[in-house]
């Protein structure tokens, strides 16, 4: 297998944010002592007055983000996804979403990215929590191109947004020549008729690898990249169920309430077909991120195996 070049999406995020800030003086960054982990060093050097580091205080951070938006600025509120979403969930609901504040919440290093630092630092529930909040788009870019396009869209769009900015290195998956991100639209990366793998974030490249493995077994798997987890592209999901008859979802998060549940809701309501929902079902054991992804079956092999299971082809 060819070794692909991989990227930490935070780098694309940080670079694009500086570009946006150069072009628009309303763009500010807010963080919780996370200048390093949110990759805001360049931003801080170039726009020291426009970086509001509140210290280790997430409720304050999100409330301040809402206040900055009220004052006419465009705040990108950055913190480790687990602390941003869990610690300040009520602020996200009341101050940002219910108040329709123009705040861009940036959950950094989500999923299992913190590896052996353990489940206290893993952000595996964020998609479930935030998907339950009305009027809060939940965006999960899968590669640097999507990351850049998504934050440009967020800056240009008036209203609340949550962006999940990955740390675990991923290869490029966006097809050249097409817009990398369109709000609310899933991207069909590979055609297939036997089953569909619906993936988000770090799982998209692995879904593509799984489809290649499945082809060796004579199974033509479709691959759909869902970068807008909420609101979900229902049309694309219905088409997947209707045209391929089996669906596997894969996410670096709990599927209970996350992408898996979101897809299952649509499939159940429109065209019930056999499904498997891949994700983290328990608190993770100790180990680095790659090991933990294997542990949960969140690999090309694991995804392919689930597809075979759902098709009843897992006996050899």
């Amino acid at each position: 297998m060819i070794l692909e070049e991989t990227h930490d999406c935070r780098d694309a995020f940080a670079d694009e944010l500086v570009r946006l800030a150069r072009a628009d003086s309303r763009v500010v960054a807010v963080c919780n002592d996370s200048v390093g982990s949110s990759k805001l060093g360049t931003f801080a050097a170039e726009f020291p007055d426009r970086l509001v580091n509140v210290g280790i205080a997430e409720q304050d951070m999100v409330g301040i983000g809402a206040g900055l938006a009220n004052a006419g600025l465009v705040p990108f509120v950055c913190g480790a996804a687990t602390f941003l979403t869990a610690r300040a969930l009520e602020q996200i609901k009341a101050d940002v979403a219910y108040s329709l504040a123009n705040v861009k919440l940036c959950g950094m290093s989500p999923g299992l990215a913190y590896g052996a630092l353990g489940p206290t630092h893993h952000s595996t529930e964020d998609l479930s929590w935030l998907r339950a909040i009305a009027d809060l788009p939940v965006i999960v870019p899968a590669d640097p191109a999507q990351t850049r396009a998504a934050i440009r869209w967020a800056a240009e769009t008036d209203g609340p947004v949550f962006l999940r900015i990955g740390r675990f290195p991923v290869p490029d998956v966006s097809p050249p020549g097409a817009p990398a991100f369109t709000y609310g639209r899933a991207v069909r990366l590979r055609e297939g008729v036997d089953a569909t793998i619906v993936a988000t974030g770090t799982m998209v490249s692995r879904a593509m690898q799984a489809a290649a493995l499945l082809e060796e077994r004579g199974v033509q798997a479709r691959v759909v990249n869902v970068s807008t987890v909420s609101p979900l592209d229902r049309e694309e999901i219905v088409a997947a169920a209707r045209q391929t008859g089996a669906v596997v979802t894969a996410e670096e998060a709990v599927p209970t309430g996350g992408l898996g549940a979101a897809v299952a809701e649509v499939v159940l309501e429109t065209r019930p077909v056999p499904m498997r929902l891949l994700g983290t079902r328990t608190f993770a054991p100790t180990g680095e991120t790659g090991f933990l992804l294997e542990h949960f079956g969140l690999t090309a092999d694991g995804i392919a195996r689930s597809a075979l299971e759902v098709l009843g082809l897992d006996h050899g």
């Binding site: 409330g63 206040g67 009220n70 006419g72 101050d95 108040s99």
Partner: protein, 311 residues
């Protein structure tokens, strides 16, 4: 066709649930009041603000009694604070609630929405008749103020401990934009038990936000008991000073004392906390300083008695 018992006749006219638009007559009246107060001597100002507050208190009682919902005790304790702010302090334009240079008022104790709604209607943000829809199905006037539906509401509040961080963000943002506008956050005393306030207090002190004022409606009661019996807040002024704020304590029902405290020149580089000593249920003898009037609704006779006392 013979009408049967199940025939559905035309529904009775419901409350007006359309959006809230400025009431230009009320705005004109409010502007005249502001001009008069700007020229008035202290005695005249005190009398004018007291009359304004009396009218707001009466509307608060009748609105809550009609809706069967509300937080009368806290509404009556915060009324003089809101009256002073909108009568003589805040630079706002009810005809243009989104004016970028407006002063911002955040009511962190969002359960006292009726006092806020009544004050906003008095300024002409929307017609006072719409107060009668408070808490009715689909009314823009929810039990807690929503930025989505009420002009003049800067952020939706209700869960406690949210207003001060938002106020700090507004003050930081206005300073970044080079605006001279002020930010005032009105908090309950009980809600100071929420840790988020102290995160924000630390940030405001650290950043020296002189355009930020926190006004504490210090009525000494929270939903279930006295604050001192629940989780003691004193020495309250010292706590704010320790966080880098200037703190003053005033009689929260003395409009001129409030006005002086809110408008005095700032200590260099410090946000200001005005601890307004108030009485929950102020103005209605049987409600004053009684914990059960946190969210008890007056029945018809109690409302009549209360309105009589407030006359």
């Amino acid at each position: 066709m013979r009408p049967s018992q199940t025939t559905i006749t035309a529904a009775p006219p419901g409350p007006d649930v359309t959006g809230l638009l400025p009431d230009h007559d009320a705005i004109a009246e409010w502007r005249r009041l502001r001009e008069r107060l700007a020229r008035a001597g202290r005695d005249d100002s005190a009398a004018t603000l007291a009359a304004l507050a009396g009218g707001i208190r009466r509307t608060v009682i009748s609105t809550i009694a009609a809706a069967g919902l509300g937080h009368a005790g806290g509404d009556l304790s915060v009324t003089d604070i809101l009256t002073t702010l909108y009568g003589a302090v805040l630079r706002v334009d009810p005809a243009d609630p989104g004016w970028p240079e407006r002063d911002r008022l955040v009511l962190s104790k969002g359960h006292c929405s009726v006092a806020l709604y009544t004050t906003l209607a008095t300024c002409g943000y929307f017609p006072a008749e719409r107060l009668s829809t408070f808490a009715a199905p689909l009314s823009p006037l929810n039990g807690h103020p929503s930025r989505r539906s009420v002009p003049g509401v800067e952020t939706s509040t209700g869960p406690l401990g949210h207003g001060l961080p938002v106020g700090v963000g507004i003050a930081v943002g206005l300073r970044l934009r080079g605006s001279a506008a002020r930010t005032v956050v009105v908090l309950g005393d009980g809600e100071l038990q929420e840790g988020s306030n102290w995160e924000a207090a630390m940030t405001a002190g650290h950043r020296g936000l002189t355009s930020l004022t926190a006004v504490i409606d210090r009525n000494g009661l929270q939903q279930g008991a006295r604050t001192s019996a629940t989780n003691e807040l004193e020495p309250l002024a010292d706590k704010w000073r320790a966080f880098g704020w200037e703190a003053v304590e005033v009689d929260g029902h003395d409009h001129l004392a409030l006005l002086d405290a809110m408008t005095a020149p700032h200590d260099a580089g410090r946000p200001r906390c005005v601890i307004a000593r108030t009485v929950k249920g102020r103005g209605v003898s049987f409600m004053e300083d009684r914990v059960e009037w946190h969210h008890k609704v007056p029945d018809a006779e109690q409302a009549r008695l209360a309105l009589e006392e407030l006359r």
